[in-house]
């Protein structure tokens, strides 16, 4: 079996949308699934953190944060060159600067299935990389407009926004309670993880399938950006991974994180911070093109690349 079973659920969702099925997941389920995934990923990372000295991880924290901050600054001029308006370019850049938690989960599952080991605290990187790209994106939008930025509000929104809060909250709980302390809740937060991920991918398939019509509307730019940006960014991620001396799996995961685009935290934050940006454009690139690309083609690619680079 080459393709992970959870990917089939995504395809089922896309299919349902394309044939105009009336299949819908209730909104409360969508919210519940995303709360669950964020908490569970945080917890998992936290449990691993409880086993090692945090200080040894500071270089990784610094480097992944820097990566997230840098990506939008690199993407922005390129996107401007593609004739995107300033706000649009900043918004798209922010989406790719941030990360997709589900893409990360699919990549970890692929590594586990193929028996490629990776750093057990990898979900710490997800938590760290969620926010910086969004901040850079907003900064770019503001610089290009000379508009004043309410930094306090902004920092608050990003740091205490639902996704960062759940990820970091899970990390803390996992780190404090440790393996033994969290044992009684693992029947909910560990074993069902992949099944829940499958359901969430069904929902994302429905949403992504709905965006395919938009792909046509936005045309070549969106397809080009959505297909070219991820592999290019994966190189940057892999580079940082090599610099940090990560394992083969770790390099693959960092490549995946760099290549992935946020479609939960970023759209909400950018809508408020950069309302002039066309929300449909960013989300269509991130969820309609890059997300399927990454889970179908990208992840195997990034894993192969990591193996080549690390000789693993």
């Amino acid at each position: 079996m080459m393709i992970d079973v959870v990917v089939f659920f995504f395809l089922l969702g896309v299919f349902a949308r394309l044939v105009r099925s009336d299949l819908r997941l209730p909104e409360a389920l969508y919210e519940t699934l995303s709360i669950y995934l964020l908490l569970a990923i945080g917890l998992k990372g936290g449990i691993e953190l409880s086993k090692q000295p945090l200080v040894a991880l500071l270089p990784q924290i610094g480097a992944t944060m820097a990566l997230g901050l840098a990506i939008p600054f690199v993407l922005y001029p390129v996107l401007r060159g593609l004739r995107l308006s300033g706000p649009d370019a900043a918004s798209v850049a922010a989406h790719y600067g941030s990360v997709s938690v589900v893409t990360f989960a699919v990549a970890s599952a692929a590594l586990m299935r193929e028996g490629i080991p990776f750093e057990s605290h990898a979900s710490l990187w997800v938590a760290v990389m969620e926010a910086p790209g969004i901040i850079s994106g907003i900064l770019l939008a503001r610089l290009s407009r000379l508009r004043e930025v309410k930094w306090a509000t902004l920092a608050h929104e990003v740091a205490f926004g639902k996704s960062v809060l759940l990820l970091v909250g899970g990390l803390f709980i996992g780190a404090i309670a440790g393996e033994a302390g969290t044992a009684p809740i693992q029947a909910v937060f560990v074993e069902p993880f992949k099944g829940v991920l499958a359901l969430f991918l069904l929902e994302l398939g429905l949403v992504a399938g709905g965006r395919l019509a938009e792909v046509r509307r936005f045309g070549f730019v969106v397809i080009g950006v959505g297909l070219v940006v991820p592999p290019v960014l994966s190189l940057a991620g892999a580079g940082v991974g090599l610099m940090l001396g990560l394992s083969t799996g770790g390099v693959a995961l960092l490549a995946t994180l760099a290549a992935s685009a946020s479609y939960i935290a970023a759209p909400t934050a950018m809508r408020i911070a950069v309302p002039e940006a066309n929300a449909g454009l960013s989300i269509t690139a991130a969820l309609g093109v890059s997300f399927p690309f990454n889970i179908l083609v990208g992840i195997p690619l990034y894993i192969a690349m990591a193996q080549a680079l690390t000789g693993g």
Partner: protein, 102 residues
């Protein structure tokens, strides 16, 4: 049996859910004594919004207030949000029984 009814304005704002927090602050700042919100779905010039996920959610807000307050809120929304967000607004004349409340 003689209920005395007092005219008030009902302002209805249908907007992207991302605006809820700001709209709540706005209507209170501009003089409304209350508001009611609920989740809707629909379609307009910005396309279909099904509310299946976060950025696709739409809310409808009702504010009962004096005409002057409704006008101020509407003007603010028009200036602040309409240029960049999906927003629909309308006014309706209604009657209330406790005029001090609105």
């Amino acid at each position: 049996m003689a209920l005395i009814k007092h005219p008030r304005m009902l302002l209805v704002i249908i907007a992207e859910a991302a605006l809820e927090k700001q709209l709540v602050a706005d209507v209170k700042r501009l003089g409304a004594h209350g508001y009611t919100v609920y989740d809707v779905r629909g379609e307009g010039t910005m396309g279909v919004r099904e509310g299946a996920w976060e950025a696709d959610r739409t809310i409808e807000m009702k504010v009962i207030c004096e005409t002057a307050v409704a006008d101020q809120i509407a003007e603010h929304v028009l200036a602040q949000y309409v240029p960049h967000f999906g927003v629909t607004m309308f006014f309706a004349d209604v009657q209330v029984l406790r005029p001090h409340k609105f």
